[in-house]
Symmetry: C2
Subunit: 188 residues, 2 copies
């Protein structure tokens, strides 16, 4: 393989990730075969797996991109705003369904779960730090441990992803998120 610049490498990785994301979104985790990923990226399996070890690594890289984007929002505006952004982007719902399809794998495949948790640590840290700041500033309730508030918000985010990925009605979810936001505040 010829020597390529860092820019070219980054551009190639971008092509692979974008194509793979579309492929997972369309066919699901199991349905995104190597042939389909080749077709979606316009690249050969050799070129793809030169950059990412296997399909699992590709999927985790995409999940990591989500996490980074969410962590940026969570750090500045909190996890409820992350949820409002998810709700505002129906084009992503196909991809969200893929995140659900790996639940069994997450639970039964120890190394996959470890890799997933490592990727999501950034979002956890951003959410935790913002909750702590909220408590110190007297904005958030302090009668419940921060870990419980965080676990609560994580649970609601998982629920939101599940609802949207399943195509259930989303009309009243803005009001639901208002209620969630209020339930972690110091008073009604």
């Amino acid at each position: 393989m010829p020597k390529v610049s860092d820019d070219r490498l980054a551009a190639r990785r971008r092509e692979i990730l974008d194509g793979a994301r579309r492929c997972f979104a369309e066919y699901g985790y199991d349905g995104a075969t190597v042939s389909r990923i080749e077709k979606a990226t316009g690249l050969s399996r050799g070129a793809i797996f030169h950059h990412y070890k296997d399909k699992e690594a590709l999927f985790l890289a995409l999940a990591h991109e989500d996490t980074e984007r969410m962590a940026d929002v969570a750090a500045e505006q909190g996890l409820v705003q992350v949820m409002r952004n998810v709700l505002a982007n129906p084009a992503d719902f196909d991809w969200l369904a893929t995140r659900l399809e790996i639940a069994r794998k997450l639970r039964t495949d120890d190394s996959f779960r470890a890799a997933w948790l490592a990727h999501s640590a950034e979002l956890d840290a951003a959410t935790h730090a913002r909750l702590e700041r909220g408590r110190e500033s007297g904005r958030l309730r302090d009668d419940v441990p921060t870990d419980v508030l965080q676990s609560y918000l994580d649970l609601v985010l998982d629920g939101l992803i599940t609802r949207l990925a399943s195509g259930q009605p989303a009309d009243d979810l803005t009001a639901v998120l208002d209620l969630v936001e209020e339930s972690v505040r110091i008073e009604r």
Copy 2:
């Protein structure tokens, strides 16, 4: 086929459902092939599909059993108690993962979604009725529409199923459910 009594019919259906549930739990929705369902039930495909039109109908019958059980609890003790019961039954988590695997199908297959929604109407009605009673008795908050409270609790239930099916830590979920319960009550 010889004429059989209603009891025999009910017993046969029970055998089919129990075997199919184990099979879905072990292999997932796509992995539960007809051969595997035959093996898990100890019955031929002819016998199985005499009672249930196809795999989809079998899955929906199992989901309907869940819904009926949940609706009974929801009517008497509310949806948060349904969640506490889910949390208390780790043996069911394999089956819960199957419920996530059908998210894409739910969103993209109109007739499947219609059948699923018809099955879940019972749980929705039980939850709604109990929330209304809670408001009338002054136990639940009345500054948020009942539909929003219901949608909130549904979202949390979806999140709980996703968390448990993904094998994420469940240690603090009892405290989280306490917070959820409190957030729909009239005051802290």
